[in-house]
Symmetry: C2
Subunit: 400 residues, 2 copies
């Protein structure tokens, strides 16, 4: 297998170092808008299979050319969600498989944004599903940790743990702290603002997909392995759009353990218009306020040395098995100390990055084989979960 | 008298329209970095004595040239505090009087910012006091409403209402709301951030000037004329630096009725580094985060039509008179409905603007006559307070 990774940020760097320990591929190109960053990440693998390239992710022909030049079989997109569509189209045009960890962006309903969906996450990608089918290539969308591992958990629960499912709720929480900073998000603030301030989407069998106001339905979820209770709120996330396409459930939600401080920060950014992505004029410059917020905060990928604690991603499922009620939480915990010591990556980006590498290995070995636009829950969960254990990153199950 | 006004923002516009009703001057130049804005403000006076000019307030020689060209006697500075020093120096070099409404900026103590003062508000201006004396010209600093009228009130209290003063506390509160905005400050956000996030300064006779952490010593102050109780906190403000130079008091403070929401917004901006004035790199642009915040918010001077309510500026004084304890609050309330109807200016900028016009009239008529760098409390308060009533903007006194 010959791989093109686009995006040498935190997740791209972790993908590179995780992949370097595996032998399922022959060639791996690390590409980024910043050529020096790509070169540094490729060098961090310390492996002759890795090479670096400079590419603008929004330039579809340039990406196609890069895929052709390196005779790649697959494009792994590790950029931020603004670049999903050009990369997705480049892979389709070049006739290669495609993987990403976030789906094409949503647009709120113009009149009733807190009730109805407008353009949903992934809609633009699913619209091209017939073309992927015709091309005989796989676009595996949302194969990070959330979405990604969370969807694999849901498929596994549906296949092996439940006869009927009442609700699937992805629940994400952490006890991470960053020494020396008043406020330092552990993940891309651009993406966090996008997913937290967009109207959260919920699925119910009777209503289909609908939206609510931001930060709706707060609940305290008790996370495992010592993290403990964290306040979680509804957030727009891909799982809610993916799971109901392949799994039969009454209700699907995603709640993020933001904590009150982070919610207050996001509310304030929104109140002041600092979450906006349309440029404003500042002196002679035109800048998007959200980009300024990101520029003011430390790069989350560079904070690993100052971070402490664990992050937990998982899928809570409620339903029945053999006529009896059942409730489980399938989860994965990453400890920053371990991920820093073993991979030089902080916990949140590392936990995101390991999943597309596993997926690439399953595709390379033919264990996972499909065409069209597919979510992780469209494929067999067992080999994925086994390989996660084999990578030394075991998952857990809590009966509730 | 021939006047050069530099700064045609909200306050400059209100100064122009207030001055247009008075006959103490022959010529009034409205100058701004934005020549069109200056022209529009000068035209709003609808009076042949007013003319417009374009000038960069940071370009001292250009300001001197403008003063000479129009044979001005006085420069009134209505820009933001970054431009105090070049304008102050231009007036000194040109041999004209100078008035401003905010003083030269402070710099926190490098090691103990929340205990000790570093460079204090106005230090750079007072350092040039001997040169103003030698030139025989007056630099009347801090002659807006706060500082300004608040200092006049303090002088009046010391002269006529008290034998001994225990504490002078400027207290500012409002019940203003802006229709159609989640968050719309009624005054320059740049200046508000500057004064609220700098370490507040306090004066005590024994300790001299010292600083505290931002938002210290919260107290609820009951404002008059129906505004009612508002939570006030210590804020860095010129009065604390001015009053002790001329008035004998045990303690001098300034507390601003920010309210909890505004305090939360300011804390969040600081936490995220969005209050910073040093430029950050955003794509190919270099912008100061604080300028981006200002660019995202509506122009406070343009909100008058949507504002409702009143703003109160005043000076609370505690001490003794004829052996008995006494406590008074001397205040001035501006109602947005009135200021919009009469002057087309919103209440906060109008209340700031009326005071330098009164001061100019007292200087023009020779009622106020002094040389050197002087605060409003260095001059006779009675004619100022009488003229305030004559302008139709009566002040009040509450015995407590």
């Amino acid at each position: 297998m010959r791989i093109l990774l686009v995006g040498a940020g935190g997740v791209g760097g972790a993908v590179t170092r995780i992949a370097a320990r595996r032998d399922f591929f022959e060639h791996f190109v690390v590409a980024d808008y910043d050529g020096e960053r790509a070169a540094a990440v490729a060098a961090s693998a310390d492996d002759a299979r890795f090479t670096a390239a400079r590419v603008d992710a929004s330039d579809q022909p340039a990406v196609e050319d890069l895929l052709a030049r390196h005779r790649c079989d697959v494009l792994l997109n590790a950029t931020d969600p603004r670049f999903v569509m050009p990369l997705f189209r480049a892979a389709l045009a070049a006739g290669v498989h495609y993987l990403d960890m976030a789906m094409s962006l949503s647009r709120p309903h113009p009149e009733r944004p807190h009730e109805l969906t407008g353009v949903k996450l992934g809609d633009e990608q699913f619209a091209l599903a017939p073309e992927w089918e015709r091309a005989g290539r796989l676009a595996l969308v949302g194969i990070g940790v959330e979405p990604g591992l969370s969807d694999v958990f849901a498929r596994y629960a549906a296949d092996e743990l439940f006869d009927e499912i009442e609700e699937i709720g992805v629940r994400d929480g952490a006890d991470l702290t960053v020494d020396g900073y008043d406020f330092a998000p552990s993940f891309s603030i651009w993406t966090t603002i996008e997913e937290c301030l967009n109207p959260p989407v919920v699925y119910e069998r009777e209503r289909g997909w609908f939206t609510t106001a931001p930060f709706s339905e707060p609940e305290v979820f008790d996370f495992p392995e010592g993290i403990g209770p964290v306040e979680c709120v509804n957030v727009e996330h891909e799982e809610v759009l993916l799971m109901p396409r392949w799994i039969d459930a009454e209700r699907v939600t995603f709640k993020y353990g933001l904590g009150q401080e982070f919610i207050d920060v996001l509310r304030t950014l929104h109140k002041l218009g600092l979450d906006r992505t349309e440029p404003v004029k500042v002196g002679d410059a035109l800048v998007a306020p959200r980009d300024v917020v990101a520029a003011c905060l430390p790069d989350p990928a560079a904070l690993g040395d100052r971070m402490r604690g664990r992050t937990c991603a998982g899928t809570w499922v409620k339903g029945t098995k053999d006529g009896a009620p059942r409730e489980v939480y399938l989860y994965h915990v990453a400890d920053n100390e371990t991920t820093m010591a073993e991979y030089g990556s902080q916990a949140v980006v590392w936990q995101t990055a390991i999943n597309p590498v596993i997926a690439l290995e399953l595709i390379a070995t033919g264990t996972w084989s499909a065409t069209g636009v597919q979510g992780p829950e469209a494929l067999d969960p067992r080999p994925f979960l086994d390989l996660l254990n084999a990578y030394g990153a075991p998952w857990g199950l809590r009966e509730m």
